[in-house]
């Protein structure tokens, strides 16, 4: 029975952890059915389990929550914030009870009825908040000591010992492998050795990960913290978390948990204004709080920023004078950054009133000293009325870095993979080197990028030119791009980076050292420091929302394509959206007559394309079956390669109307076949008496090159003369209302991915599905 009980408690706790974030996300979007279902499942499972164990109170609570959520699911109640508060309170109580059950104590509190009353109250009932508060206060009092979680604790040095033991085993294995190779093939030994090798690799992976945790572990608790705090303080805060996949030593995560909680409390309490203050200041009423973590050289940089009122440095200065830390003259002479530093002086707090959340004046100095204990740093930047930014840097010790190993002048180094944007072979035609003064530049995809010769930077060869070398394009945390010229690029490897001796760290070129599989030590380059030393990096920039918008637009334009090799052996690509399937047809199914070719598949005669410049294979041919929804085409290929996203710009090809253009995919030029042009020319739409007509914006290049083929493919004839009537008229958002007869349809396009400008409706011009849909429905209505 005890075992079963333990299972029940463990399961409850696991589920609690899992839905913690869900419930807050659900509150911000009560229409989110998936989240609602997850929470419902939780209370439902708890209810079922406690019926089995005879916990009447727990059952009553979960039953109350379940029935309310069931009503929300059925659409009879809406999830307002009161309801969410009540559900959260019940979930908290369930957690407390689970703890009490495990430690064998009395179940805490006895005011479940208050919670149940709160959850059953209707949204307009004014007494709810009072009820809730009473319940919550009582809950707070009854909070017992936390029970032990279902996991074991290990001393970290034990893990270290295991890890170094495994590393030694890998080295011994490599040594053994060399000897085996030297002594010649030995099949009876080779098999088991391979197996041993494989197992060792697995174990090593597992052991290396044992110490690591994703920073998500830390992030998980934040939505709830922010929600509770902002509700308590009457503020509205949106939390934005980024970089949760950065891995950090377990110990480090524990060490930074409290400082980060403290900074977030401060940001909500002091930084972000109340909604009315924000509106008065011309900001959105919802404050934005963001936490971004990024691996940056030998550090993890964790940036916490808010768009609140910023740090009141004048007040900080006054306080420092009042506390006798500095004289007024000293304060007057201080720079803004120095004044920020005052925040970390013991005993200073800018809050006028001591609140329960923060402002006891024991905060930031403790935060800084805790961070410094683990070798981290903290910096503050702020702007009056615009927000503040906390930059925490935590050392990389023992973090696993995916690295790129490179060679120059016979020596090997590693670069953290996260910096490497692309690898470019200097010998290729796409790269051009130039020299301006002493500085060397590389021209790549129309961009001039500063280029460093690693040999020169490290003083291995002062005359090393970057010309023709292999380049690693490196992007820094602040978005700046530069190229590092090296002799060779070897491999990607997961590296466990260890700190270097202080005398080597002091050079500023290295972030750490690691042992490669062959047992040789290798240095990890400190890219940001090198860039800074070479004058290539600026102070960390605050990410502006503008950048986000640009990224979104690019993402909207990324279009999935299928890469294939044509019969002529050339690499081509075609839009994924028009490919219905890939088929194989026998040679005998193909019928070529003059310039027209057909193929018979599934008793259908389809026009066959893609034969130019190639010969048909002897027996079977591979076909891409293309469809625009109305008719089908077959495109003969030699081989289908891969799917990819079209991210780079398409350079139009003028001479061939069936070719949309050429783009770069993985650094190689690929010809894009224009699917719409194919259908426009070869597609045999269902016969109709007279094609519908469509008028396009005439003097617009975009509509001629992009829109026209699409409209043709949809079965329209394009009207060119001004006085001819058109069934459908397409206008761009910049243009005014066209002069058209009442029965004709109008499709309005706009160029902003996020939606039309205020007061008008329309279709984003790259939203081809919506556009085709609109053309189709206009056609049905028109005739």
């Amino acid at each position: 029975m005890d075992d079963l009980l333990g299972e029940f408690v463990a399961e409850t706790r696991e589920m609690l952890e899992a839905i913690e974030g869900e419930i807050v996300a659900w509150e911000s979007d009560p229409a989110d059915r998936a989240r609602l279902d997850a929470i419902f499942r939780f209370v439902h499972t708890v209810k079922g389990n406690c019926g089995f164990f005879d916990f009447p109170r727990l059952e009553k609570l979960s039953h109350a929550a379940e029935s309310v959520l069931a009503e929300v699911r059925a659409g009879r109640r809406s999830a307002d914030s009161n309801l969410v508060d009540a559900v959260l309170a019940i979930i908290d109580r369930i957690a407390e009870m689970a703890d009490a059950i495990e430690s064998g104590e009395e179940l805490p509190g006895n005011n479940d009825d208050l919670l149940i009353a709160a959850i059953n109250a209707t949204a307009d009932d004014v007494s709810i908040s009072a009820t809730m508060q009473a319940a919550e206060t009582a809950a707070l009092k009854s909070h017992g000591p936390g029970a032990t979680p279902r996991s074991i604790r290990l001393p970290v040095d034990l893990l270290d010992r295991v890890m170094s033991g495994i590393s030694d085993m890998v080295l011994a294995r490599n040594d053994l492998a060399r000897r085996l190779r030297a002594s010649g093939a030995e099949p009876t030994i080779d098999g088991p050795f391979e197996r041993l090798s494989g197992i060792l690799t697995d174990v090593r992976d597992a052991v290396t990960r044992m110490r690591m945790q994703r920073i998500d572990q830390l992030y998980n608790a934040l939505p709830r913290l922010v929600r509770d705090l902002s509700a308590e303080l009457g503020k509205q805060v949106m939390l934005d978390l980024e970089g949760g996949d950065v891995e950090l030593d377990r110990e480090m995560i524990e060490m930074i948990r409290d400082p980060i909680t403290h900074i977030i409390r401060n940001a909500i309490d002091h930084g972000i204004e109340t909604p009315s203050e924000r509106i008065a200041a011309g900001k959105r009423e919802i404050g934005l709080l963001s936490a971004v973590s990024r691996q940056s050289g030998n550090k993890i940089a964790l940036t916490i920023s808010d768009d609140g009122r910023g740090v009141n440095i004048a007040k900080l200065g006054r306080k420092a004078v009042a506390a006798g830390l500095f004289s007024q003259d000293e304060i007057d002479a201080m720079s803004r950054d120095d004044l920020h530093e005052l925040m970390f002086e013991p005993g200073l707090s800018t809050a006028e009133q001591v609140s329960a959340i923060s402002g006891r004046g024991v905060g930031m100095d403790v935060v800084r000293s805790n961070l410094e204990k683990i070798g981290g740093t903290i910096k503050v930047r702020s702007k009056d009325g615009e927000g503040s930014l906390f930059i925490l840097e935590i050392p990389l010790t023992l973090t696993i870095v995916s690295g790129l190993t490179i060679g120059t002048c016979g020596q090997r180094f590693a670069i953290p993979q996260s910096y490497v944007e692309e690898i470019v072979h200097g010998g290729s035609n796409a790269v051009e080197f130039s020299q301006v003064g002493e500085a060397e530049l590389v021209n790549f995809r129309g961009q001039r990028i500063p280029c460093l010769s690693l040999a020169k930077v490290l003083g291995l060869d002062d005359d090393a030119s970057v010309c023709g070398k292999t380049l690693a394009l490196v992007r820094l945390g602040n978005g700046e791009l530069f190229a590092v010229a090296v002799d060779q690029i070897f491999d990607h490897e997961d590296l466990v980076v260890k700190p270097l001796a202080p005398a080597i760290m002091a050079t500023g070129f290295y972030a750490g050292t690691t042992l490669l599989d062959d047992g040789n030590p290798i240095l990890m380059l400190d890219i940001p420091s090198i860039a800074q030393a070479q004058g290539l990096a600026n102070e960390t920039r605050v990410r502006t929302p503008k950048n986000v918008a640009i990224v979104a637009e690019v993402a909207a334009q990324a279009r999935p394509i299928m890469l294939f090799v044509g019969l002529d052996g050339r690499r081509r690509a075609i839009g994924m959206d028009i490919i219905r399937r890939i088929d194989v047809a026998p040679r005998s199914a193909v019928n070529i007559e003059g310039r027209r070719a057909q193929v018979v598949i599934d008793d259908l005669i389809l026009p066959l394309l893609g034969l130019d410049g190639g010969t048909l294979p002897e027996d079977k041919i591979k076909l891409l079956r293309l469809s625009d929804g109305q008719c089908e085409l077959a495109y003969a290929v030699r081989d289908v390669a891969d799917a990819a996203d079209l991210e780079n710009a398409i350079v139009p090809a003028d001479d061939d109307s069936l070719i949309e253009g050429v783009t770069l995919i993985d650094g190689e030029p690929v010809t894009i076949v224009d699917g719409h042009a194919l259908f426009a020319r070869f597609g045999r739409a269902a016969p109709r008496g007279e094609p519908l007509t469509c008028r396009l914006p005439m003097d617009d290049e975009w509509s001629q090159s992009m829109l026209a083929p699409l409209v043709l493919a949809a079965g329209y004839r394009i009207v060119t003369s001004d006085d001819e009537a058109a069934d459908v008229t397409i206008v761009m958002d910049e243009a005014g209302d066209p002069d058209i007869s009442a029965e004709a349809a109008v499709i309005r396009l706009h160029s902003d991915a996020h939606g039309p400008s205020a007061g008008s409706e329309g279709i984003y011009r790259y939203d081809r599905d919506a556009l085709i849909g609109a053309l189709k429905s206009a056609g049905m209505g028109g005739k």
Binding site: S167, I504, T507
Partner: protein, 147 residues
Amino acid sequence: MGELLVMTIIAGRRAALRAADVQSVIEIERIHPVPRAPNFIAGLAALRSQSLTVIDCRKSIGLARGAAADCRAAVVELGGHPYALLVDSVVDVVESRSEPMPLPGGFGEGWSRVAIGMVETEDEPALLIDIARMVAGPGANRAAIAA
């Protein structure tokens, strides 16, 4: 008195290290140089799963003369970092016959910086080396070592 010492030869002179500080004596197969590092740092070497920072003792003392007879090094740990002290050769482990004592007039430039004092042994006296100062290199002052 009665302390175990690892007796080595550095730049042709007898130099002793406290055996308690020395984890092992190894033969370094290959030293991987560290570009831009101070010149008394010979580079990195691998010992099992660790990277050792190899300190060229002669250069740390400030003597460039003489080449290492073999690649013997004493492995020590300081501030959590493992170091290999590259010496001319490792002679023996001996017992000290005296407390380390200063010598009027010092041990000569360079040597004085890294010396704890002179110790008597069974046969000849030797210089007892301060490992922290040896690792810190010629540029470092006492304050930096203490920190």
